[in-house]
């Protein structure tokens, strides 16, 4: 799916990798796969060794069950893949659920993440602990998908295209026409599998239980490495929150930038997104040499 990248599998995780240079890990979100990086990863691979896993339960990765669906467990699965690939320290980019995994990894494995970009999320704890009517309406899927198995799984399986396309077309976006048809085909191939539907529901079932508890347990913790917060300027998060403000108390060094588009701006504005990420990653060389 990503031009010039190789694909592989390790420990139940499917991934694509390409390029040479300092390691960079890209984590996709819901209801997507690593194919979301198709127009971003090749640009970043000019200067980095880029690794794009499918999260556990998503894409071509195995569905681990509810225990393996927490952000902490997903993060550990990604670390296992990176161990296998011989990657110790890496830069990390995550969108949506992948952003939440990235946030958790920054807290759980601070010695391994040297730079992180979080895309179009507010902290899980912030969203859930201060839930507003408008947010619950826009993010109804947080509560629908979190219903016990197999209720939402079965409803979605009756018409997965209708369900997930409503997600991709919403949240501040302009419908499906702004997406690359080849990327959409990759998403559809994944979400038409009942095991992937269960995996995605498990992700949200863990989100309002285990993940929230994990966040409550280290509320004061800050991301130690430099962080870039990107958000869709027309997205629902920017409509309801000052996204940068929500992250400020959870970061040590932070910059924030709006990208034109809705929640799925990496799909609909890949060049702008890649440019913002490349600029942030370029600073890495400078800070690395300072540390050295």
């Amino acid at each position: 799916m990503i031009a010039g990248f190789d694909t592989g599998r390790q420990g139940g995780l499917a991934y694509a990798a390409g390029g040479e240079g300092p390691p960079l890990v890209l984590l996709h979100g819901f209801p997507q796969t690593h194919a979301m990086w198709a127009h971003i990863a090749p640009i970043l691979a000019l200067t980095h060794r880029v690794i794009c896993p499918d999260l556990p339960g998503y894409g071509d990765s195995d569905t681990p069950g509810l225990e393996g669906a927490s952000f902490r467990a997903m993060g550990q699965a990604v670390l296992g893949l990176l161990d296998h690939l011989g990657v110790e320290r890496f830069a990390l980019v995550g969108h949506d659920r992948g952003g939440r995994v990235a946030h958790r990894l920054c807290l759980d494995a601070p010695d391994r993440v040297d730079r992180v970009a979080l895309m179009d999320i507010v902290p899980t704890h912030t969203l859930l602990s201060e839930l507003q009517h408008d947010v619950a309406t826009a993010y109804y899927h947080w509560f629908f998908l979190a219903q016990p198995e197999p209720f939402p799984d079965t409803m979605i399986a009756a018409d997965p295209d209708a369900y997930f396309e409503s997600c991709l077309g919403g949240w501040g976006g302009d419908g499906l026409s702004a997406f690359d048809p080849a990327q959409l085909d990759a998403y559809r191939a994944a979400w038409r599998q009942p095991e992937r539907i269960r995996g995605m529901c498990d992700d949200y079932r863990a989100g309002v239980t285990r993940d929230f508890e994990d966040d409550c347990a280290d509320l004061g913790a800050r991301i130690r490495c430099p962080a870039l917060i990107l958000y869709g300027e027309q997205g629902v998060m920017a409509r309801f929150y000052d996204v940068a403000e929500t992250w400020a108390p959870k970061c040590t060094y932070m910059e924030a930038q709006g990208i034109p588009g809705g929640h799925f701006f990496p799909d609909t504005a890949p060049e702008v997104t890649a440019a913002a990420l490349a600029a942030f990653l370029e600073e890495r060389g400078a800070s690395d040499s300072e540390e050295a």
């Binding site: 859930l128 602990s129 839930l131 507003q132 009517h133 619950a136 309406t137 109804y140 947080w142 509560f143 629908f144 979190a146 219903q147 016990p148 209720f151 079965t154 409803m155 979605i156 009756a158 018409d159 209708a162 369900y163 409503s166 309002v208 929230f212």
Partner: protein
């Protein structure tokens, strides 16, 4: 079937202004009227355990709300006004006209209780007192949104998504949706607290795509135009006596302070939690009927 569920009751379709409603009643128009209003996703059949216990004392009138059961399901509008609680309350004022009742006692559950709240404000002379089952005021519930609430009442946020998305997803298997939602909300397994004949009626009625759409419109109205109507009312409170009964095993108990929320919207509020799930009229019908009889006769 109805004979066994509602012994001695009559079934009629009655023109009520803009719509015709399906109504079960005990054909005793000389007795004081008691209007019983059902909730989502149900029909008047939910009163089968309560209504017969009240039939000696009242003219017990159990309509299907517009959009539900065998009542008309008028086309909606972009502002959802045809499914506003105001429109539904107007239906029931017309229903009282039809029977020649100046006013009625009102017992109501869930969506029906939201209609009863609006009816007490819009037709204050027609409503003598209210017993409301397992709700807090709509506007105040939304204003007090929490994760606890959204996890339990996820359907408040799902059903209000723009048409036809929830309609399409539900329509693939309405019965699986109905059972999955209601059995779980009852904290139950198997057939839940529902009488088999009542459940058959609920499921049969919910097979109708027009009923699915209308019930989504009911929720869309609740999230928009019903709140707008509340806001226009400002601080105006219900002046009639109001008894709030809610389920100890439900989200009203877990996520809200229903007495204090009701006291912000009504002058004369009493109430308590009862040991039941959300579908309390079907779980503990004798207790509900006793509460209604005591509350209404003490205020006659």
């Amino acid at each position: 079937m109805t004979a066994s569920l509602f012994p001695g009751f009559t079934e009629e379709r009655i023109p009520c202004g803009a719509v015709t409603l399906f109504v079960r009643h005990n054909a005793a128009p000389d007795r004081p009227a008691l209007l019983l209003l059902h909730g989502y996703p149900q029909t008047s059949a939910m009163w089968h355990g309560v209504a017969p216990l009240l039939a000696d004392r009242f003219h017990v009138i159990c309509p299907d709300l517009r959009g539900y059961g065998r009542s008309d399901k008028p086309a909606s509008a972009p502002d959802h006004a045809p499914y506003s609680k105001r429109a539904m309350a107007d239906d029931f004022a017309a229903l009282l006209d039809h029977f020649g009742h100046d006013s009625a006692w009102v017992g109501a559950h869930d969506r029906g209780a939201r209609v009863a709240h609006r009816m007490a404000l819009d037709h204050s002379g027609r409503v003598r007192a209210l017993v409301l089952l397992d709700i807090a005021p709509t506007r105040e519930m939304y204003a007090n949104t929490s994760t606890t609430f959204a996890r339990a009442y996820w359907h408040w946020y799902f059903l209000t998504q723009p048409a036809p998305f929830p309609e399409t997803m539900i329509g693939h298997d309405p019965r699986a949706f109905w059972l999955g939602k209601c059995i779980r909300q009852a904290g139950s397994t198997g057939t839940g607290p529902f009488h088999p004949d009542a459940k058959d009626e609920y499921l049969r009625c919910f097979d109708d795509p027009a009923a699915i759409h209308a019930s989504c419109e009911d929720y869309r109205a609740a999230a928009t135009i019903d709140i707008a109507h509340d806001d226009v009312d400002g601080g105006r409170k219900v002046s009639q006596p109001l008894l709030a009964l809610w389920a100890r095993r439900g989200v009203i108990e877990r996520a809200f302070d229903p007495l204090s929320l009701w006291r912000s919207r009504a002058d004369d509020v009493t109430g308590k939690a009862l040991d039941a799930s959300h579908y309390m009229a079907e779980e503990i019908p004798s207790e509900i009927a006793l509460h209604m009889t005591r509350f209404f006769t003490a205020r006659a």
